[in-house]
């Protein structure tokens, strides 16, 4: 309940929050961060794969967004804009990492030799460890596309807007990434609860059913 005419920010849509922030409202950006940080953390951690680096990237990204808010022109949803800043902060770090000579990505032969062959995983924790581990074994641009499309459930078009590449590039990166992950994750098949879909005779073979209804990246309003 307001004390003396303070407006509640919790119910404002993202775009109004960002506008209020640009006008100097100190509560607006905090509300925006609170609203989206859980999802942004998932994107950052899955893309980078390392807790500390992901935390640094997320902090960098929110600070960049804080400073760049005045430049947001409303041509996309605020969430798309935020995702782009977070993913770019992650990719910047990954590019710097691969540029360092000491930490090289293992090649395919090495990957095959260390691919998981151990006892069957049973718990969700082991499952997510295995998934995180496998994700780190594919090129980061494929990983970034798969994190958005397969893990976070965004449409190819939304992922294309976030990563600023054509939709066809997203499709191709997803296809390459899935082909690399298939032998790495084969041991987890039938352990995720869902039934595995066999090869289809339909011309439309979809790897994962896209969510019906409004796009996930649409403007957020009150708490969802």
């Amino acid at each position: 309940m307001p004390l003396f005419g303070n407006k509640q920010v919790e119910t404002l849509p993202d775009k109004e929050l960002l506008a209020k922030h640009a006008q100097g409202d100190p509560r607006a950006f905090s509300e925006l961060v609170n609203r989206h940080r859980d999802r942004m953390w998932a994107v950052a951690l899955r893309t980078i794969g390392d807790q500390e680096e992901a935390a640094d990237a997320l902090q960098d990204a929110f600070l960049s967004a804080y400073r760049a808010a005045g430049k947001f022109r409303g041509e996309s949803a605020v969430t798309t804009w935020l995702h782009r800043i977070v993913v770019n902060a992650c990719l910047d770090r990954l590019r710097r990492r691969t540029a360092r000579p000491t930490v090289a990505f293992p090649d395919d032969d090495v990957l095959d030799s260390v691919a998981p062959k151990g006892p069957d995983p049973t718990s969700a924790h082991e499952l997510s460890l295995d998934v995180a581990d496998a994700l780190q074994r594919i090129p980061y641009e494929q990983r970034a596309a798969l994190v958005l499309v397969d893990m976070m459930g965004y449409s190819v078009e939304d992922a294309a807007r976030v990563l600023e590449v054509p939709p066809g590039t997203i499709k191709s990166r997803c296809a390459r990434g899935r082909a690399r992950l298939a032998p790495l994750l084969g041991h987890l098949r039938n352990r995720t609860g869902g039934s595995v879909v066999g090869p289809s005779n339909d011309s439309q073979v979809r790897a994962v059913p896209r969510q019906a209804g409004p796009s996930v990246l649409e403007e957020g309003g009150s708490a969802s």
Partner: protein, 243 residues
């Protein structure tokens, strides 16, 4: 059996609709008859399901706190330029108050307002704080009042109050509702002398921060909630303010 075995890459392209019409048709024809490639195709399709089923990693609490702190620090750094000048002027006023010195500062070219030093006959130098004299809550319903919307937090309350006192410079007196006057008397005593009343936030809740000066206790800041009144304190936190 028609056609050759197909690898994961081709199957992944087929699933994404990236194959040309002709190869797509022959791969589908092969898939109908080849158990090995059906198996491979199923492997591939399960990749997306496995990825989708991975649990969302929870945001660590330490990171949530760190992000809050980083945003707070950024908000402070982005504070208006005027603050630096105001802070310098206020510091000088405090120096002069302690020295019981008078009117004009040379060198810096800043004139110290006589009003800020006019603290009344019964007030010693110690009662002039942050360039202003506290207002006794017993004698007036007009107190130095701001609505800063600062997000005060328990751990940083003292520093944030000090910052606010510096930032506010000379605060116009505003009429304070009776409930809030009763609240001040309830938490700080009927003889409390008020430096600042700030409508703001405390740990995510709407709150009023009341800064009072007391000769024996020094300066204290109280963060109270919307229910604070004569009957109920609704007190979130109390901290001494150094200086």
């Amino acid at each position: 059996m028609s056609g050759q075995h197909v690898d994961y890459d081709v199957l992944a392209d087929l699933a994404e609709g990236l194959l040309e019409e002709q190869p797509a048709t022959s791969v589908r024809a092969h898939l109908k008859e080849c158990a090995e490639c059906q198996e491979r195709s199923a492997d591939l399709l399960s990749v997306s399901q496995i990825l989708a089923a991975a649990p969302m990693p929870p945001l660590p609490e330490s990171l949530a706190a760190r992000l809050d702190a980083a945003m707070l620090a950024e908000a402070r750094e982005g504070a208006p330029v005027i603050d630096l000048a105001a802070r310098r002027r206020i510091k000088m006023q405090r120096v002069f108050a302690v020295a019981a010195a008078v009117t004009v500062v040379s060198g810096a070219g800043v004139a110290v307002s006589n009003g800020a030093l006019d603290v009344g006959s019964d007030a010693g130098p110690a009662s002039l704080l942050w360039g202003r004299s506290p207002v006794p809550v017993a004698s007036s319903d007009r107190l130095p009042l701001v609505t800063s919307d600062t997000r005060y937090q328990e751990a940083t309350l003292a520093a944030q109050v000090e910052e606010q006192l510096n930032r506010s410079g000379s605060v116009p007196a505003g009429t304070v509702p009776d409930r809030l006057l009763d609240c001040v008397k309830s938490v700080a005593g009927a003889s409390a002398r008020v430096l600042l009343v700030d409508n703001a936030w405390f740990d995510g809740r709407e709150a009023t921060v009341i800064v009072v000066s007391d000769r024996s206790d020094g300066t204290l800041a109280y963060a109270v909630g919307a229910q604070c009144s004569a009957q109920e304190q609704d007190l979130f936190a109390t901290v001494p303010i150094p200086g």
